[in-house]
Symmetry: C2
Subunit: 136 residues, 2 copies
C-alpha cells in the first residue's frame, strides 16, 4: 500500500514537471485540493494540512508569489484573507489530476476490469472523504 502511494506521489510530481509545473511540491497539491472546492482562510488550510498556521502562511506566500493563489479580503471578517486559486492554480490542479489518472491507468493494465472496479470500490469504502495531508 505504501509503495502504491509512493508510486502515485512520484507519478504526479513527474507528470507536473513534464507539464511545466516545477515549483510545486506534494504538500501544495494537498492545498490545491482544498482550495479547488471553495476558498478557505489560511487557518482553515493549516487545519486541513495538519501543519501550523505559520508554516501555512509561508506556504501560501510561496504560492502567491508564483501566481497560483490570490488573497482576497473576506467582507465578513476584516482579519481574514480568503485564498482563491488563480487560472494557473486551476491549471496546475488539472495537470496533477491528469498525472494521477495516468498513474492509476498504469495500474489498470495490471488488473482485469472487474478487479480494478473492486479495488476502486474497496479503497473508496475504506478511505472515505476527509482531510488529506502529508504522511511522513
Amino acid at each position: 500500500m505504501l509503495r502504491l502511494a509512493g508510486q502515485l506521489v512520484d507519478g504526479i510530481q513527474q507528470g507536473l514537471a513534464q507539464r511545466g509545473f516545477t515549483d510545486v511540491r506534494p504538500v501544495h497539491g494537498f492545498a490545491f485540493a482544498r482550495l479547488s472546492g471553495e476558498p478557505a482562510t489560511t487557518a482553515q488550510l493549516a487545519d486541513h494540512l495538519g501543519i501550523t498556521k505559520q508554516a501555512t502562511s509561508e506556504l501560501v506566500q510561496h504560492l502567491v508569489e508564483r501566481g497560483y493563489v490570490t488573497r482576497t479580503s473576506d467582507p465578513s471578517d476584516l482579519r481574514a484573507r480568503l485564498l482563491v486559486l488563480t487560472d494557473r492554480g486551476h491549471a496546475c490542479t488539472r495537470a496533477a489530476e491528469q498525472a494521477a489518472a495516468d498513474t492509476v491507468d498504469s495500474w489498470k493494465h495490471e488488473l482485469t476490469p472487474r478487479q480494478f472496479a473492486e479495488l476502486q470500490r474497496a479503497v473508496a469504502a475504506i478511505a472515505g472523504p476527509g482531510r488529506l495531508r502529508p504522511a511522513w
Copy 2:
C-alpha cells in the same frame, strides 16, 4: 489511496508509541524492513532508502545510540560495518508489524471477506516487491 497510506503510517506510528517506541520515525521503519532480512552496510541501506550515505550514516548513528542496531565488522571488507538489528530492533519491528496489522484489520471490518481478499490481491499485483522509501 493517499489517505489509506496516511492512515497506515499514522496507525503504525501510534501503535509503536503505545508499545513504548517513541523515538523512531517512519523512515526508521523502512530501515528496519531492510535490516530484518539480512544485515546490510550503510551504503546499501542508503540505496534502499533513496537518501545519501551521509544522511544514512546519521540515521544509523541515531539507531545505534538508542540500542536498535549494532555495527559489526565485515571480515571481507575492513572499511565496511555490517548493520545488525539488536533484540530491541527486532522487537520494534514486530511491534510495527502488529500495529500495521491492527490498522489493516480495521479496514477488513469495512469490507466483506471476499472484497478484502480482492483488495489484497490487487494491491500485491500492482505494487510487487522492491525498495520502500519515504514518499513525500
